[in-house]
C-alpha cells in the first residue's frame, strides 16, 4: 500500500546500498587486478599462492580457530550458569558492559598486565617460575583476543539456553540419563544455533584483527587483517591488499553459506 504511488523517500536507503554495500566490494575486486604501477595484471593472485601468503593464511586460520575454541570453552559454561542465576538479566548486562568500553583501552591494559614487571610476572616469580616473556607472543595475542570476544560468545549461547524448554532436561533425567549424557544428547544439540552464531561472531573478526596483533603481539603474529592494513596504509600496495581482501571476503561468504541455517533464526 505504501509502495504504490510516489516512493521517492526510499531513495536514500537504496543509494546507501548501491554506494556503500555493492560498490565497495566491486572496487576491491577491481583494484586486486592492478599492480603497484597501475598495470592490469593477475600477478597479485599469483603472488597470493606463494608460500609467504599461504603460510600467513594458515597462521591466520590457526589463530582464529584457537581464539574461537577457547572463547567457546570459557563462554558455554558461563552462559549456562548465567541462565541459572536469580537476576539473570542483570548479570547478563554486567557481562555486556565491558564490551562498551573501547577495545583499544582494554588491549592497552594488557600491555601493563603482561609486561615484564606486571602482576602476572610477579605471580610467576612468587610461584618460582621466574620471569617470562608474555608480551609479544602468540599466547598473549590469543589470550587478549579471547578476553575481547567472550561476551560476544556468551550472548547468543545465553539466549539459546534461555529459550530452551527445561522440561526436556527433566525428562532426560527422569529417563535415567546422567548429567553428561543429558548435556551431550539434549542440551547441546538444542543450543547448537547459539553456538553457531557465537562462533561466527568470533571467527570472522578474529581473522581480521590487526590492532591487537600490533599492540600485544608486536608483529610476531601476522594475520590476514594485519596484511591488509600493511598493504593499504604502509606499503601503499593497494592491489595486493585488495587481493588479500578478496580472499577474506570469499572465505566470509563461504562461511555464511555453510552456517546459513543459523541466520534464519536471527530476528528480523
Amino acid at each position: 500500500m505504501m509502495t504504490k504511488g510516489k516512493s521517492y523517500y526510499l531513495i536514500p536507503y537504496y543509494l546507501w546500498i548501491a554506494l556503500f554495500v555493492i560498490a565497495p566490494v566491486l572496487l576491491v575486486v577491481y583494484y586486486s587486478l592492478f599492480d603497484l604501477e597501475g598495470k592490469l595484471t593477475l600477478n597479485n593472485y599469483v603472488n597470493f599462492f606463494t608460500p609467504v601468503y599461504m603460510r600467513m593464511m594458515l597462521n591466520s586460520f590457526w589463530y582464529a580457530f584457537l581464539i574461537t575454541v577457547f572463547s567457546l570453552l570459557v563462554a558455554y559454561p558461563a552462559a549456562y550458569l548465567l541462565t541459572r542465576t536469580k537476576h539473570k538479566q542483570l548479570w547478563l548486562l554486567l557481562i555486556i558492559l565491558p564490551t562498551w568500553i573501547n577495545l583499544l583501552l582494554k588491549t592497552y591494559a594488557f600491555i601493563g598486565i603482561f609486561g615484564t614487571f606486571g602482576p602476572v610476572n610477579n605471580f610467576f616469580d612468587l610461584v618460582g617460575l621466574g620471569e617470562q616473556q608474555i608480551l609479544f607472543t602468540g599466547f598473549s595475542f590469543v589470550f587478549v583476543s579471547v578476553y575481547i570476544f567472550i561476551p560476544f560468545m556468551i550472548l547468543p549461547i545465553f539466549s539459546a539456553l534461555d529459550e530452551m524448554n527445561l522440561s526436556l532436561v527433566d525428562a532426560a533425567r527422569d529417563l535415567g540419563a546422567s548429567g553428561w549424557t543429558t548435556f551431550r544428547r539434549v542440551v547441546f544439540p538444542l543450543t547448537i544455533s547459539g553456538v553457531r552464531s557465537g562462533c561466527m561472531a568470533v571467527f570472522i573478526p578474529a581473522l581480521s584483527l590487526f590492532m591487537i596483533t600490533r599492540l600485544i603481539a608486536g608483529n610476531r603474529v601476522i594475520t590476514l587483517g594485519t596484511a591488509i592494513e600493511q598493504h593499504f596504509l604502509v606499503t601503499q600496495d593497494w592491489g595486493m591488499g585488495s587481493t588479500v581482501a578478496v580472499f577474506l571476503i570469499a572465505i566470509m561468504a563461504l562461511f555464511m553459506i555453510l552456517t546459513g541455517g543459523s541466520r534464519k533464526g536471527v530476528r528480523g
Partner: protein, 281 residues
C-alpha cells in the same frame, strides 16, 4: 541428604566459575583505573596517589579537540544513520515478495558481518576514487554507512510486530499517507528508533578499524588517538582518559536503560495491541 550436599557443592563451584569470569572481564578495566592515580608513572609499581594525569588530560587542548570531534561525529552520524534506517526498515517491510525481502535483508546485513578491515579498506578506495578528501567528511560518511544496517535491524521487529489493522484503520478514517507515517507508524516504532540510534552511537564511539583507514593527517578520533599513543608505550594519561571514558560509558548505559524503561511503559497505556504483541527488548 547426600544428594543435597552434592547440589550445594556444585552450586559452589558454579559460583566460583562465574565470579572468576567476571573478575577476568573487569580486572583489566580496574587495573587501568587504579594506575591512573599512580605518581610513579608506570603501570606496575604504585608509588603514591596523584591527580596529575587527570590535569594533564584536561589541559591537553589537542586531546579535547579530538574528544569533541569524536562526539560530533557520533551524534551527527547516528542521527543521519537512524533517519536513513527508518526509511530502510519501511522499505524492507513493504516489499511483498519473500525473495526480494530476503535479498534486501542480506544486502542490509553485509556491513554487519564484514570484518572492519575490509570495510575500512574498501571505503578508502571509494573515497579516493570519488575524490572526497580524507578527514571529517570521509569519517562521517563511513560512520553513517556502517551504522545504518544495525539501526535497521533494531527498528524492523517493531514494524513487523505492528498490527496492519492500525494503518488500515487510519486510512479508512481519512488519514493521508503522511499522517499514517507520522501519527501512527513512527510513534509505534519509536522504541526501535531509540535503540537504533543508541546502537549507532555506541558503534560510532567505539569504532577504530574503519576510522583508522579513512582519517587523513590532522584529523583524529579518540580511538585512533589512543591507538597511536598506546603504540608509543605506557603513558598514564591514557589511563586517566580511560577512567573518564569508563565513567561516561556507565552514565550513558544507565541513561539508556532509564529512558528505555520510561519509553516501554508509556506505549503500554496508549496502544494496547502493541503491548500484547510483545515489543521485543
Amino acid at each position: 541428604m547426600k544428594n543435597k550436599r552434592r547440589v550445594k557443592n556444585q552450586n559452589g563451584i558454579a559460583n566460583i566459575y562465574l565470579v572468576l569470569v567476571f573478575l577476568v572481564l573487569y580486572a583489566p578495566i580496574f587495573y587501568l583505573m587504579y594506575y591512573s592515580f599512580n605518581s610513579g608513572g608506570t603501570m606496575h609499581k604504585f608509588e603514591g596517589f596523584t591527580l596529575d594525569y587527570y590535569r594533564e588530560v584536561v589541559a591537553d587542548t589537542r586531546l579535547m579537540i579530538i574528544v569533541i570531534n569524536t562526539l560530533v561525529i557520533a551524534l551527527l552520524s547516528s542521527t543521519i544513520a537512524t533517519i536513513i534506517a527508518v526509511i530502510g526498515a519501511l522499505a524492507i517491510h513493504h516489499v511483498r515478495s519473500r525473495r526480494a525481502k530476503n535479498t534486501l535483508l542480506s544486502l542490509n546485513n553485509v556491513l554487519i558481518v564484514s570484518p572492519d578491515v575490509i570495510i575500512g579498506a574498501s571505503f578508502l578506495i571509494l573515497f579516493t576514487i570519488v575524490g572526497i578528501k580524507l578527514g571529517f567528511t570521509s569519517v562521517l560518511l563511513s560512520h553513517v554507512a556502517f551504522s545504518i544496517p544495525i539501526a535497521v535491524i533494531m527498528i524492523l521487529p517493531h514494524l513487523q510486530d505492528m498490527s496492519p489493522t492500525l494503518t488500515d484503520a487510519a486510512r479508512d478514517l481519512g488519514a493521508t499517507r503522511r499522517d499514517v507515517l507520522t501519527k501512527v507508524i513512527l510513534p509505534i516504532i519509536k522504541p526501535g528508533i531509540f535503540s537504533g540510534f543508541f546502537m549507532a552511537l555506541t558503534y560510532s564511539l567505539d569504532d577504530f578499524a574503519v576510522t583508522f583507514f579513512v582519517t587523513g593527517n590532522g584529523y583524529s578520533t579518540l580511538s585512533v588517538e589512543i591507538y597511536s599513543r598506546a603504540r608509543q608505550g605506557v603513558s598514564l594519561s591514557i589511563n586517566a582518559l580511560s577512567t573518564l571514558i569508563f565513567l561516561f560509558t556507565i552514565l550513558l548505559v544507565i541513561g539508556y536503560y532509564y529512558l528505555n524503561q520510561r519509553k516501554s511503559r508509556t506505549p503500554v497505556q496508549i496502544a494496547e495491541p502493541v503491548a500484547e504483541a510483545g515489543v521485543p527488548r
